[in-house]
Structures are given as structure tokens and as C-alpha cells.
């Protein structure tokens, strides 16, 4: 629940930004227009889009509320063969026709379906979806608005275009957001703070949020004008304090009843935090910055005395915001966007981070905390300003939370909104979009396709079952001794590998090829010329060390005669194996063939006939024996 509180704030901002391509006029401004009746000046579609944004917001909150009472309504609503139904359009169409009651009475559902451009056969399901998703909302909106016109004026609406209604809805939603006394818990959730104060207070709060939006947009503009990256970053951090004060002021207004000290403390700590971030960004190695502890040791630190913890909180809020993109809205799980694998997506990771991350996935969070702002600076200025403004929004939210705490009114759902909570309340997503459809258990065996049971490749069809002699050999390991002239030498190794391969080939017959064993092992390199191999190695070394993700595309261009499959096969069967031989001999203490970020000298040469001569050289043998003493 705490998550929701934060993100609802964030996503209001989000909405504005997503819907509005023009940063100078935010959603709230448009809604103001609606209230003041200057609707005609605003582009119809544009406005509709904004109202849609509000509508979706409210609907979502509404469904969540319903969901809490045990009726799960997954979004988006699916219809027919899994297509998503546009609930906003549906709502508009039905309202145009005078509301669901009228539509049902006059049997207009089929025309609703036609207007939505859907198949006529779906009218029953459209009706069902309406009753599940929207009818409550409709009722609620009617009551909410107290608008008698709506109730008795249904006939008017039948003939009007949807725009008057749109403006009405806008006004209604707008009215709901700014000014209507709050009675409903849904509304509380809409903003995520709970204070049973009068309208005025709420208005101010809304105004503060609005200010925040405007401010961030102005800032965004500023950034867009800037050309150079470095000064922007500077600029960005410099503007923080101003921004904070701005927020602080609006918070002042909100905090009419809150103790002034708390506010001062809050603002001050925020300032301190930002200062710390700036300092750390400038001098990352400075010991004065303090050390950032792992999540398990966070307890016992309050965000007041450890600035880094505040930064982490801000970053967490940022992560959450990321998770709240429109599609993923239904989930709101922070973990959803947590990457299973930490390091693969970042282009320039330094070796230090790579090595710490390898130890444990969770370490990533520690590492990325240190570089939140560094990551930001990689992206474009607009994005960065977004990041910062949203993290500050969270701080605003926190300020409000502080206020709530001071008022002795602690909404329970805010309690667990703490980043160092190990056991974050994550519930398993439920609904038709998540669970498997189970066939009813009938007791007797229902049909299971016996057609596809796999194709037997082993044991071979035409052979008799294995003889007893064969069985005895199962699971034997490496023979203790061999008849080679120099047991343990490279030649000996190669001989036995080749021997094993031949034996396998004889035994498996055609299966050998079915399992692609002919494409296994270093023998693949025989299909490559020495020149090609050299080129591949050079290319691979330079690409991987520079974290060049396009390596395979490049290499495809470089080796027009090879297919992608050939290249990958060569990579795993020859290149990596040689890398391993290098590591085994030269750096036996840091063997890792999974990390594609390597240092690779050269010890091995070609294969085939020449291999013996090259690899049999004395010097190489010596180096094996010296470095790796525990080999045979």
C-alpha cells in the first residue's frame, strides 16, 4: 500500500507528461480551462486525452478499492479473443446514451458495441464488462457530482456530441481533484495522504502538486535549451535547492497546522541530502561522504543521520516510478523492474562494480545507489530532470507523511513505505491474466495427446539392448593411467579427447549428428582459416572489453561466409575453450568463462595436424607444470 501512495503522486506527474506533448501546458492547466468554461479554446482531442488520463487514474483507484473488497477486476479489460477494451470509450458511449440503465432498458447495447467498432456478437460481454468495471463508477460519479442535470437530463445527452459530456466529466474530475470535500476513501487514495481537513487544505495541497508539475516542466524546458551535457548536470544540481525551497513553500501552505519545526527540519534535511549528493558526485572517493551499508544493516539508521539512506529512499521512489508505466500499472511491484541480472544492460560499468556484482545479485542495489546520478547523466537531460523531480515529489509526499505523523494520524498503508524493509509486502498478482485455467478434475483420465511423446534417439532402434559388458562401463571416470608415452602431456590429453570423440561417434551413429556433436569441441576450428580465427579473436576482445553489444552484428558483417550459428558455435566451442586454457594455465586463480569481460593472452595455436607441433613445445609444458601443480 505504501508503494501505491508514492506512485500515485508520481504517476499524476507521469500522466501529465505522457499525455501532453507540449510541456508548457500541463494537464492541470487544461482542467482549469474546463472549469472556467474556456473549453472551446482547447483542442478537442487533446482535452479528451487528458480527461482520459484522469479517467483511467480514477478508474484504476476505483477498481483497486473494489479489489480490496474481494472483487478482482484486472486491467486492461479483455474482450473476445483477448483484445483490450477501451473502457474510457465505452464509458463515454454509454453515458452519451444516457447511462447504463437507460441503455439496458432501451436495449441499446448492440448500438454501443457498433459505436465502439466491435463485433456485434460481443454485446453481451461488453455489457458484462460495463457492469463489472464501470457501473459502480458511474453511480459513484453521479452521487459525487450531485449533478441533477445528469440524472434527469439523459435525453439531452442522447443527442449531443460527446464533447459537452467530456467537459462535464473533466469538470467533475477536476472538481473532485480540487475542492470537493473528501468523504470517500477512494479520494484519499487518489492522493495518498490522509487528512480529514477542510477543503482549503486540500486545495493547497493540490496547488502544491500543480506547482511542482509546472516547475518541473519549466525546468525541463530549460534543460532542453541547454546544449552541453556537463554544465547541465551542474545546473541541474544547482537548481535543486531552489526547487526545494519552492516545494518547501508550498509545503508551508499545506502544513498550516503542522509544527513549524518539523517542516524546517524536513527542508533542512532535504537540503543536506542534496548537498551530499552533489558532493559525492564531485568527489566520489571522499571518505567524508560516509560508507553506504548493505540493506541488511540499514536498520538502526534513520534517514536523518545518514544522508545516503535518504538518497537511497529517493532512488527507490525513482525505481518505483519507473515501474509505474502505463502497462505495468496493474502490478506496481518494484521488483517487477528489478533485473534478474544486474550488469548486462549498463554500457559503461567499471571493473570494480562488475567484480562486486558477481558476488551477489543484491549487491547491485548498493552499487547502483552510488551511481544514481551517474546513470541519470547518461540519459538525456529531460529524463534526468524527470528523475529528480519525481524523487523530489516523493520527498514532498514524505513531508506530507511527516505531517500526518505529527498530527497523530498515521495511515496504516504508509507505514511500510520504507526502503529498508526487507519483507516488503508483495502480494501475488491474481486475476484471469495471471492464473492458469485449470481443467475440471473429472476423476477419469481425460485425454492427453499421445501423439507427441518425443522421438527416441537412444537407444538406437536397430541395435539390440546394450550388452552386459557395456553396462559395466557406465559412469566410469577418468582412467588412472594410460599407455601414452608422456602421460599428462598435452599430446596425451589431445589423444584421449580425440579417442573419446571417435568412440562416441562410433557408438552413437547417426545420433551423433542429431545431437550436433559434430559441431562440438575445438574441432570446429578446422572449418576456419587461421586468418579468420585471428580476426574473430581481435574483434571479440575489443568488442567485449568495450561492452559493445553489437559484436555479433559486426562479426556477421566481418564474416559474410559464416552464419550466426557458426559464429556462436565457434565462440563457445573454440574461443571460450581457448580462453579457458589460457586462464587455466596463466591465471588459475581467476577462472571464469561466464564473464564476458576478459583478458586473454595467447597460449594455444591451431588444431589438426599442426596442433601437435605447436603445443608440444617444451616451454608450454613447463608453464603448465609450474603454474598448476594439482593437475594429475
Amino acid at each position: 500500500m505504501g508503494r501505491w501512495h508514492v506512485s500515485s503522486n508520481a504517476s499524476i506527474l507521469d500522466c501529465n507528461k505522457d499525455v501532453d506533448p507540449n510541456p508548457s501546458n500541463g494537464c492541470c492547466i487544461a482542467s482549469d480551462c474546463l472549469v472556467e468554461g474556456t473549453y472551446a479554446n482547447v483542442d478537442y482531442d487533446d482535452c479528451k486525452a487528458r480527461i482520459r488520463c484522469y479517467f483511467e487514474k480514477i478508474l484504476w483507484v476505483f477498481l483497486k478499492e473494489i479489489g480490496r473488497r474481494g472483487f478482482v477486476r484486472p486491467l486492461p479489460a479483455l474482450i473476445g479473443e483477448g483484445g483490450a477494451l477501451d473502457l474510457f470509450e465505452l464509458f463515454l458511449v454509454v453515458r452519451d446514451k444516457g447511462g447504463s440503465q437507460v441503455v439496458s432498458e432501451k436495449k441499446l447495447w448492440s448500438s454501443v458495441v457498433v459505436e465502439l467498432g466491435l463485433d456485434l456478437g460481443l454485446s453481451a460481454s461488453v455489457k458484462l464488462i460495463y457492469s463489472k468495471y464501470l457501473s459502480d463508477l458511474e453511480k459513484w460519479l453521479m452521487v459525487r457530482c450531485g449533478d441533477t442535470k445528469l440524472e434527469n437530463g439523459s435525453s439531452d445527452y442522447c443527442y449531443k456530441k460527446s464533447s459537452p459530456f467530456l467537459s462535464e466529466l473533466g469538470a467533475k474530475i477536476n472538481g473532485m481533484l480540487y475542492g470537493v470535500p473528501r468523504q470517500n476513501s477512494i479520494y484519499d487514495e487518489c492522493f495518498g495522504f490522509k487528512s480529514n481537513k477542510q477543503n482549503g487544505n486540500v486545495n493547497v495541497a493540490a496547488a502544491a502538486v500543480e506547482k511542482e508539475i509546472k516547475f518541473s516542466e519549466i525546468k525541463k524546458k530549460e534543460h532542453d535549451l541547454h546544449g552541453d551535457v556537463t554544465p547541465i548536470q551542474q545546473d541541474c544540481t544547482e537548481t535543486h535547492p531552489i526547487h526545494v525551497i519552492e516545494d518547501g513553500q508550498s509545503l508551508d501552505a499545506v502544513n498550516v497546522e503542522a509544527e513549524i519545526e518539523s517542516l524546517g527540519k524536513y527542508r533542512e534535511s532535504l537540503l543536506r541530502m542534496l548537498k551530499w549528493v552533489r558532493k559525492t558526485a564531485k568527489h566520489p572517493e571522499d571518505p567524508l561522504n560516509g560508507t553506504i551499508l548493505g540493506a541488511s544493516r540499514w536498520k538502526g539508521y534513520s534517514s536523518d543521520d545518514a544522508l545516503w539512506l535518504q538518497v537511497i529512499s529517493a532512488k527507490d521512489a525513482l525505481l518505483i516510478r519507473k515501474g509505474v508505466d502505463k502497462i505495468a500499472e496493474k502490478r506496481l511491484l518494484i521488483q517487477k523492474k528489478v533485473k534478474m541480472h544486474p550488469s548486462i544492460y549498463e554500457d559503461n560499468i567499471d571493473n570494480h562494480r562488475l567484480s562486486t556484482e558477481r558476488i551477489s545479485c543484491s549487491k547491485r542495489f548498493k552499487a547502483s545507489t552510488e551511481s544514481v546520478f551517474a546513470t541519470c547523466s547518461n540519459s538525456c537531460p529531460t529524463v534526468r530532470s524527470n528523475c529528480i523531480s519525481s524523487s523530489l515529489t516523493t520527498e514532498v509526499g514524505k513531508g506530507l507523511k511527516n505531517q500526518a505523523v505529527l498530527n497523530g494520524d498515521i495511515p496504516s498503508e504508509m507505514e511500510d513505505d520504507h526502503p529498508n524493509e526487507d519483507s516488503a509486502e508483495e502480494t501475488v498478482p491474481v486475476g484471469a491474466l495471471c492464473q492458469a485455467d485449470l481443467p475440471e478434475w473429472t476423476g477419469n483420465n481425460s485425454d492427453s495427446d499421445s501423439k507427441w511423446l518425443g522421438t527416441r534417439l537412444w537407444p538406437l532402434q536397430h541395435r539390440n539392448s546394450n550388452s552386459v559388458r557395456d553396462r559395466r562401463a557406465i559412469g566410469r571416470g577418468r582412467p588412472d593411467s594410460c599407455g601414452c608415452q608422456f602421460p599428462g602431456s598435452v599430446e596425451c590429453f589431445r589423444f584421449h579427447i580425440a579417442e573419446a570423440r571417435m568412440r562416441l561417434k562410433l557408438e552413437l551413429g547417426s545420433t551423433f549428428f542429431a545431437w550436433r556433436f559434430h559441431q562440438m569441441g575445438e574441432e570446429i576450428s578446422l572449418q576456419w582459416t587461421a586468418e579468420e580465427e585471428k580476426r574473430f579473436k581481435e574483434l571479440a576482445m575489443s568488442s567485449f572489453n568495450n561492452h559493445n553489444r553489437c559484436f555479433w552484428d559486426y562479426s556477421l558483417r566481418w564474416f559474410p561466409m559464416k552464419s550466426r550459428k557458426n559464429l556462436i558455435s565457434y565462440y563457445f566451442n573454440v574461443f571460450l575453450l581457448r580462453l579457458r586454457s589460457y586462464q587455466n594455465r596463466v591465471t588459475p586463480n581467476s577462472i571464469d568463462s561466464d564473464d564476458e569481460d576478459f583478458e586473454f593472452g595467447c597460449v594455444s595455436g591451431g588444431f589438426g595436424d599442426k596442433a601437435m607441433e605447436v603445443l608440444g613445445s617444451k616451454s608450454l609444458e613447463c608453464s603448465i607444470n609450474r603454474q598448476v601443480t594439482d593437475v594429475e
Binding site: A328, M340, D422, C434, L438, R478, W515, S593
Partner: protein, 430 residues
């Protein structure tokens, strides 16, 4: 107990050349290495090896939404830039990149698990192995954590056609969230997952409090663990919980996900299990002598994955494998010592005894409820049912004490349900 199990093993040579992209930790080449190692130990002589059919989109849509399957089918690396919205809708991209032959890869591993389930259904084998499967994170409508198609769910759905109750066990270091989610509302599948939990470790779900909902309440078990758990504590916990689960739930078939990222030294994992500790879980599950579907899963240090799954293939074949790896094409991957068993890492075990016992108590507490709320056909007892004794010697005295106290506690608590006490005796007698 049957003298010899019939084993079906699924492998398709095409998985070896699947590549997720540079520096992506998931490397299907590990399957190729595993198969190679299995063959070099000549384990193939003791089992039947099948090439799975490539699952048809309609089969995949038994669980997944049709539009998602269709999208996976359609998308290629060259066209992905045209579908930015869909990519994010289906969570494709970073963790789950779109690569060449993506759909074919999904078809192969899902086909393997489905075929394995069908062979078990038709009693053509007793144990079916598909190391390519076990991609337990995939959700109904989206990819997640390197998993695109949830073959386990598909396999379990297949098994549910012939069995009233399926037990799913997951020893991957990550929570088996996709499978749990799919069967969250049903008591016909019990999901038990042992995983690392906390510190925002992927996927973030799997708290001990997640127990299922509606009919499925108490039929999802989560055993959240902390970093560095070692063989001793893990296997003890595993045996205690699994034996109790099997005793109470009486599954007709068991599905075991053997993600090898719970091994020490995994690139993404953070446990400290040795291969023997990991394989011990497989050995224990095998002892129930129920039809068993074994799949792979995670595992990001590919040499160790190959080692681990080879050892476990050996365990399922009742074959002890010598520690020295025989010569084979990939021997260099196993250098310098060419040994099958890897040593445990030097890691601090953050799971204190009290933590483990709290978790255990909670899990066993939840388990008590299932006998009082019997699901479908609880009376059906599968053939060859057998519960192996827990090797008491291996447990240390305090642990044993704990168990006894616990049992006593359970007994005492049961007295509240006076009428139902008889039930217990029935269960014990069966």
C-alpha cells in the same frame, strides 16, 4: 520399491547454439555441455533419450495468453524496434531479450517438458528429465527473468489430466513465482519453493506469508532463505518440509525444478550449496518413488551447471559417478583439476538456526491446515507410495530436539480439533 526406474531423458541438439546476447548470463550452451558430460560418463546407456517435439503455439497457449504466444512467434531481432509498446507490455527487452530463434528455443524446451509429462502420464517411464526446461518465472501474459514460456506450468497442466494432485518443488535460488502464480488458486497443485528472499533479490516475491488464496490457500509454500545457506541446513530443512508435504498432500506425481544457481559460486546466486548438497535433494525426492518430472532451471556458471545436472542424472539413474571427469571435448571447461564435485565456497551463512527454525515452524504450521481442508480426491492414494525415513543420524541433536518439540506442539495443537484427530491416524495407517 521398484528395482529399476525407467528413465526418459530429453535433449535437442539445437539448444546448444541458442545465444541470448553478449554478457547475458543465461547461456543455453550449458545444456550442450551437460549432455556432453552425461554422455562422457556413459550414462546414456542406462536411459532412453528423446528428442522432444517442438511445442505448437496452441499447446503453449494452454497456459499463456494467445496474443503473447503469437507475439513471441512473430518477433525477431530485426523487427523488434517496430513493437516498442508490445515489448514493454510483454516485458521483453532487457532481462528477456529478443534473439534469433527465440520462439524455436521456447518450443524446444517447452516441448521437452510437455513430452516428459505425457510420457509419465502414459506410464512409459518413471522419471523424465528435461534439463532444458524449468523456466519458472514466465507469467501468463509476459516474460520474466530470462523465461519466456513457462514450461513447468504447461507440464503440470498436462500431468493434471491424469493426476488429481501434483507437487511442485523448486530449489532454484530464485523464487518460482511463475508457477506459484499460475496455481495460486488451486489445491490441485502444491508449490513448494526454496529460495533466497530479501534485499530486493529477484523476483521479490516468495515470503513465507504467501500461502495461496481461495481453494489454493495453504497450497503454496515458500521457504525464504538468506545468503550463504550451506548443505547441512538446506538439506535438513528440505527433508523435513518435503517429507511432511508429501505425507500430508499425497501427490500423484512430483515435478522437481533443479535450478543450479543455488550452488556455491554461481554468477547470480548467493547460496553456498555443494553439488552433493544439491543432488541430495534430488535423491530424497526420488526416494518417494512417485512418478517424477525433473527439469533444469537457473544456473549461470555453466561448468557447474553441467557438473550438477550430470551428477543429478547419475543420482536418478542410481549411479554413483567417479569424481574425475573422463576425457571429452569440453574437458578444458573443467580444468584445471577435472573434478566433478566443486568445493563449497567460503561464505558466511546468514541463516541462523533460530531463523531457520522459525521458518520451519511457520511452514509446518501452515501445512497442518491442509489435512483439515482436504482438496479433491484426497482419499486417492497413488501406487507405490513410500516415505523414506529421515536419516536421524545426520541431524544434530538440537535439531532433532527441535523436531520432537515441534511434533509435540503439533500434536497438542491438534487437540483443539477433537473430532478430526482420527483423521491423523487414518493418514498414518495408509
Amino acid at each position: 520399491m521398484r528395482s529399476k526406474d525407467r528413465i526418459s531423458y530429453f535433449y535437442d541438439g539445437d539448444v546448444g547454439s541458442v545465444y541470448f546476447g553478449p554478457n547475458h548470463p543465461m547461456k543455453p550452451h550449458r545444456l550442450c555441455m551437460t549432455h556432453h558430460l552425461v554422455l562422457s560418463y556413459e550414462l546414456h546407456k542406462k536411459m532412453e533419450i528423446y528428442r522432444p517435439h517442438k511445442a505448437y503455439p496452441v499447446e503453449l497457449a494452454q497456459f499463456h495468453s494467445a496474443d503473447y504466444v503469437e507475439f513471441l512467434h512473430r518477433i525477431t531481432p530485426d523487427t523488434q524496434h517496430l513493437f516498442a509498446n508490445e515489448l514493454s507490455k510483454y516485458n521483453l527487452g532487457e532481462d528477456c531479450p529478443v534473439f534469433e530463434n527465440l520462439f524455436e528455443f521456447c518450443q524446444i524446451y517447452a516441448g521437452g517438458t510437455i513430452d516428459a509429462a505425457r510420457r509419465l502420464n502414459h506410464q512409459l517411464c518413471d522419471i523424465a528429465i528435461n534439463w532444458a526446461g524449468g523456466l519458472h518465472h514466465a507469467k501468463k501474459c509476459e516474460a520474466s527473468g530470462f523465461c519466456y514460456i513457462n514450461d513447468l506450468v504447461l507440464g503440470i497442466l498436462e500431468l493434471l489430466k491424469y493426476h488429481s494432485r501434483v507437487l511442485y518443488i523448486d530449489i532454484d535460488v530464485h523464487h518460482g513465482d511463475g508457477v506459484e502464480e499460475a496455481f495460486y488458486f488451486t489445491d490441485r497443485v502444491m508449490t513448494v519453493s526454496f529460495h533466497k528472499f530479501g534485499d530486493l533479490f529477484f523476483p521479490g516475491t516468495g515470503d513465507v506469508k504467501e500461502i495461496g488464496e481461495r481453494e489454493g490457500k495453504f497450497y503454496a509454500i515458500n521457504v525464504p532463505l538468506k545468503d550463504g545457506i550451506d548443505d547441512g541446513s538446506f538439506t535438513r530443512l528440505f527433508r523435513t518440509i518435503i517429507s511432511k508435504v508429501v505425507e500430508m498432500y499425497r501427490p500423484g506425481v512430483i515435478v522437481l525444478q533443479c535450478g543450479a544457481d543455488s550452488l556455491a559460486g554461481d554468477r547470480l546466486g548467493c547460496f553456498n550449496l555443494s553439488i552433493d548438497g544439491h543432488a541430495e535433494c534430488v535423491r530424497f525426492v526420488k526416494k518417494f518413488n512417485l512418478p517424477l518430472l525433473v527439469t533444469g532451471g537457473g544456473g549461470y556458471t555453466k561448468e557447474n551447471v553441467a557438473r550438477c545436472w550430470t551428477v543429478e542424472t547419475g543420482v536418478l539413474l542410481d549411479t554413483e559417478l567417479p569424481n574425475e571427469i573422463p576425457d571429452n571435448e569440453y574437458i578444458k571447461y573443467f580444468s584445471p583439476d577435472h573434478l566433478l564435485r566443486i568445493p563449497n565456497g567460503h561464505m558466511e551463512n546468514l541463516n541462523t538456526k533460530s531463523y531457520i527454525s522459525t521458518i520451519k515452524t511457520q511452514v509446518l504450521e501452515n501445512l497442518r491446515f491442509i489435512q483439515h481442508a482436504p482438496g479433491v480426491q484426497m482419499q486417492e492414494v497413488p501406487p507405490d507410495f513410500y516415505i523414506p525415513d529421515i536419516d536421524e543420524d545426520e541431524q544434530n541433536p538440537d535439531e532433532r530436539m527441535n523436531r520432537h518439540t515441534q511434533d509435540k506442539q503439533i500434536q497438542r495443537d491438534d487437540e483443539h480439533y477433537e473430532g478430526d484427530n482420527d483423521n491423523d491416524h487414518d493418514m498414518d495407517d495408509a
